[in-house]
Amino acid sequence: MNGPTRSAYRVIVVGAGIVGLYTAYHLARAGAGPVLVVDRGFLSSGASGRNGGGVRQQWETRATVRLARESVAAYRRFGTEFGYNVWFRQSGYLFVAETEAELARLRGVHELVVSEGLPSEVLDAAAVARRVEGIAPGAVVGGTYLATDGTLYPFPAVWGLYEAVRALGVEVVLGVEVLGVEASAGRVAAVTTRSGRVEAPTVVNAAGGWSGELSGRAGLAVPNVATRHEIFATEPLKPFLDPMVVRASDGLYFSQTMRGEIVGGITLRDGAGVAGGMPSSPRFLREMSRALVRLVPRLGSVGVLRAWSGFYDDTPDGFPVIGEDPRCGGFVHANGFGGHGFMLAPAATLRVARAAMGEPIDLDPALVSPARFLSNDRPPSVERLQLG
């Protein structure tokens, strides 16, 4: 049976997805001391191995735009830094609007993004049609396009980080579930796992869709909700589509990967919670196929190769939860990324690692701290662009 080799660590990171591994990487580089990463599944079994690989900087709030911009820079250098090619292809994110009202909302995003120095453009219907060849006439009134957004392959990022953290001395234990978190005198003392009890003064909750459950097991309830989202990939085709296309109204998104598959999904509001597992539903296959064929009719004869699903770790205000829990010293949140952990991880985890080391972080606590859920104040801001 595999298990941790030591009885105590400086930091235990729960979750070996992109957020957990990146956090461990920053911790190890900062010389944090012995770090353990523990995960209930195998590498890339959670959302880090199930997402569509989109990385965008178009957001409704400045803080998110900045994190995303920093992450884009990190993914650009990922290959040379980690030795794994994530094929980060900056061929843009194209948000399309079906109505003038949606376009007005996208314009707001555009103005914010431009004010951060990013080259966003507003496109009319004809310009959208040039970027999405074969789009149904009259299907959209326009959109916004940011050329430096892009898509990547999630898997190599996981491999690269896994190998990098192990080379830095981090221990990664897979297939071991964390059952609980012990605290004494208001501070984290240890975690209990299926292969025994391990001590640490700091525990990072980077458990993605399972993070709400883990916080609950630690007695530190947060309003995170795991929402199942489905996605599919088609047979590989020769390249015909460059940008990631996202429709604001229903969350339809699709892009063509390096391998030529069209990968995409659509937002369906149904069952929440990790208990239901990760099945694919006929409803998704129908709704997604219908939406895609209506928008790009020529794709009707293309074969769907496989469908799968994964969990978004959603928060009520659309912001992630980053930082130490005010109810328990040493319990650090790195969750609530709402399906966008992959695109925000490189920058966000830099802050997580600092918080885990007890250092101050440069993110507005009113936006990201778990403390925001403990007061009755209205959130100062809400990030609603939780699409694609």
Partner: protein
Amino acid sequence: MAGAPERRFFFGRARRSARPGETLLDALARGGWPALQRSIRYHRPRGPFCGVGYCTGCLVRVNGRPNVRACRYVPTDGDRVATENSWPSPRFDVLGAIDFLFPHGIDTLHGFVRPRWATRAYHRVVRRLAGYGAAPEVGRTPPTPPPPPVRRTVDVAIVGGGVAGRAVAAHLAHGGAHPLVVDRALAPEPVAGGELLASTTVTFLPAPVGTGDHRFTLLGFEEPDRGVEVTARTVVLASGGYDAALLFGGNDRPGVVTADGAFALCGRDGRRPFRRAVVVGGGDRVGEVLDRFGDAVAAVVAPGGISPPVVRRASDEGIPLYPRSRIRSAAGRGRVRSLTLEPRGGGARFVLSCDAVVLAHRRLPTSQLLFQAGARMEWRGGPGAYYPVLAPSGETSVPGLYAVGDVAGILADANERAAERVAAAVLGAPASGEEPLPRVALEGPNELEGYYRELASLPRSGRWVACACEDVLLHEVEEAHARGYRGIEVIKRYTGVGTGLCQGRYCLPDALLVLSILEGRPAPEVGYITQRPPAVPTPLAAFAAMADSPTGPEGA
């Protein structure tokens, strides 16, 4: 069908014709061995391999529609058929140079990261190499909207119209039921006492737990893109089996085919696209191959032993036998010309000249739908594959879901009894505590695993293709292991093995054996691959046409 006119179509610029009932592959094979494809990464020549609509060897473009499997398409007058993914033709493809330039393969996981300024250029080039067919032309598709879907609500649906499925149908009809048989064949024979639906079932969902609904939903399509939706209280899965691939050098060469594939290429008129085939295997399936085209078989080669009936049969016809032989490599530019072998017990290497290699050494269960439905599966060491856990009645762990025939691992001579029992159980007969029926061996030894174990320590030559759809080489699987990645689910994501069009049917069974040897643990611990819907690539149009509020449950 006799007297029906031939269908005339264009293949590139050439005029060709298909006889009534012939598939496109059939028609193309009449002009010799069809060269239709190139592989996705190295642009190696590829030809028809599986013959049953799973592999990438016969993908062509028909009337602007990409990735049409020639073996699953019946031509109509005026069709325009073109080859794809090669220039100027599949036989002489300029990009075939990649295969020579990179004898050790292209490492897309670690390569192409330096210099950083070249990133865009790398992306452009690599992207252009990827993909099979080009996207459908703008404005050409759909020329007509897809036909409205077929919907049925029935008591009993039988998936698979082979021997086992039809036997169950006959018993059910005899008992007064009117089963629906859903069969993948392009023109299946009618079913006495039941209804027949020519459709490929691609998604299969049991009723959601706790809703009080006890019906199954089956989604499928009829070629090319008519959606099919079936709701049934009871489902009998009789999806049968298929012939497996085998690992050896050059195992992806045109001319290397499964027995299914060889049958698909041999016309009903006695036509053979080969004259000197080497048949691989030593069991019943080899006997079936000899029955069908023994006159075109040059030798029978088996990794293990050869069964007495096959020995008798081959000696009668003067066909040489090579039991317990290691297949080292297939050679030939383009199509296979020879096979290099050596006796496993020791002895000199020798070469058999041939124009086809027919793989008939291993039948695997077509179990994708069982996995999808959440039936409990168990590893059966004899054949080295996963089969459903069955009650004596034939019921799986999912109430109302039964399995019979090859997919259940029932031995051939017990099939009739199995059909009878399943039908009785479906008709409501009380279980009478019967003995379980004879099935494929639960315990090993698996012959092929011993064979691969021996090969693991020997030097290799030629490309050993672990996954033909994605062009993944065997050494990439071994390197992933060497880097510390464990378990088939992780190796799949690391190497791409099993992520291609055949949904892993032809690569994962062997990858599992190889990993079991490398990891030093039994195959069930190496894991199994989650079978994701659809079981066969399904046109978007077929799914798009499904009803808004289907009669069946919605999944979960």
